[in-house]
């Protein structure tokens, strides 16, 4: 009897049905699988390669939940260390990427709960540690247009912060460009349709608030 999760099977069906591809999405590529196997036998360098392959998506996932670079770094590190310790339990029912994303997400949510008060204070002061110096708008815009774009960006950030955690998490994960909806669904432990609705609802609320 197969022990593969339902979301994995659904994802496979969706991908196969949409693109006609037969490669299942719930299994790692041979290279990653070999690295996982080597790491499971205690090969640290192989695990280091897995870290290198996934550190970006893991860090951005943690950042989406925590919004501070320091916390995201700590949680990412903790997630990889936890993955190393639990690696013998990884059976390949999902991809290593999905597995590590679930680990980092759980750790990030735990930390977010612990630091809720601190987080609220940070929100109240609008003090974001995440870099946000990229200018919105055309590079050849006039100073007035740039000022308007900066103001819009500032208001959008605050509006995103004011979203409920469920809507904000889904939006930030989707907007990061690192995840498919199926991965987000697996990470958040929610159906794909729910994730899509949350993203759409987050955008709608932001549009209403920003009146754009």
């Amino acid at each position: 009897m197969s022990t593969r999760p339902v979301t994995c099977a659904i994802t496979e069906l969706l991908i196969i049905g949409a693109d006609g591809q037969t490669q299942p999405t719930c299994r790692d590529e041979p290279g990653v699988r070999a690295l996982v196997t080597a790491a499971q036998t205690g090969h640290r360098e192989a695990f280091g390669e897995l870290v290198a392959l996934h550190e970006r998506v893991v860090f951005r996932t943690a950042l989406a939940a925590l919004r501070t670079r320091e916390d995201a770094e700590d949680v990412s590190q903790e997630a990889f260390v936890a993955a190393w310790r639990k690696l013998h339990r990884f059976r390949g029912d999902s991809t290593f990427r999905t597995w590590i994303l679930r680990i980092v997400w759980r750790k990030a949510i735990d930390r977010r709960r612990l630091r809720r008060l601190w987080w609220q204070r940070t929100q109240a002061h609008g003090n974001h540690d995440v870099a946000g110096t990229e200018q919105i708008g055309a590079p050849d815009a006039s100073p007035e247009q740039r000022a308007i774009a900066r103001d819009l960006e500032r208001r959008t950030r605050k509006a995103i912060d004011r979203l409920s955690p469920k809507l904000r998490d889904a939006l930030l994960l989707a907007a990061s460009g690192e995840h498919t909806y199926e991965e987000i669904a697996a990470t958040l432990d929610a159906p794909v349709g729910t994730v899509k609705w949350r993203v759409a609802e987050a955008r709608r609320k932001l549009r209403d608030e920003l009146e754009v």
Binding site: F47, F59, R69, Q77, A175
Partner: protein, 162 residues
Amino acid sequence: MSQQHEADRAIDAIAAEMTSAHAPELRARVLEQLDGRRGGWLLPIGVSVAAIALAVGIAVHSHSAAPQAAATVARSDVRAATPLPPVHDSSPASTLSERSPQRTVATARAPIQGIEPAHPDLPALLPPSPLTISDIQPKPLEIRPLVTELLVVERIQIADEP
């Protein structure tokens, strides 16, 4: 519709920027932490084993304290009558199996010395008198016959008697 699409794109761009950062040296720090924890799991296990050993030791000691006290009382007469010869641990001829009982008994039968006073003017405390079994035996109950004195009642004299 196009305006909404543009707004969504702007929102997505800002949302993407909110998570657009990278963790420098994350791989190196993870591996360093793994190396640092190579023997780290031994520490909690060692502490746990030491704690369990300490708890067991205390329990064994507390259980053995009561029987040892009773045995000390029982042996006190023999102790006074037949002092044991001193144990020579440095003797090469003696084996561990020979020495161990003697050492144990000699340790248990160490003579009780008087306590020297800290101040020279104070008299030294005498060693406590040895406790024997007869000291702690209950005395037999003795029921003596109840002695009652005779009750003498003088005769009542009535003066107004005819």
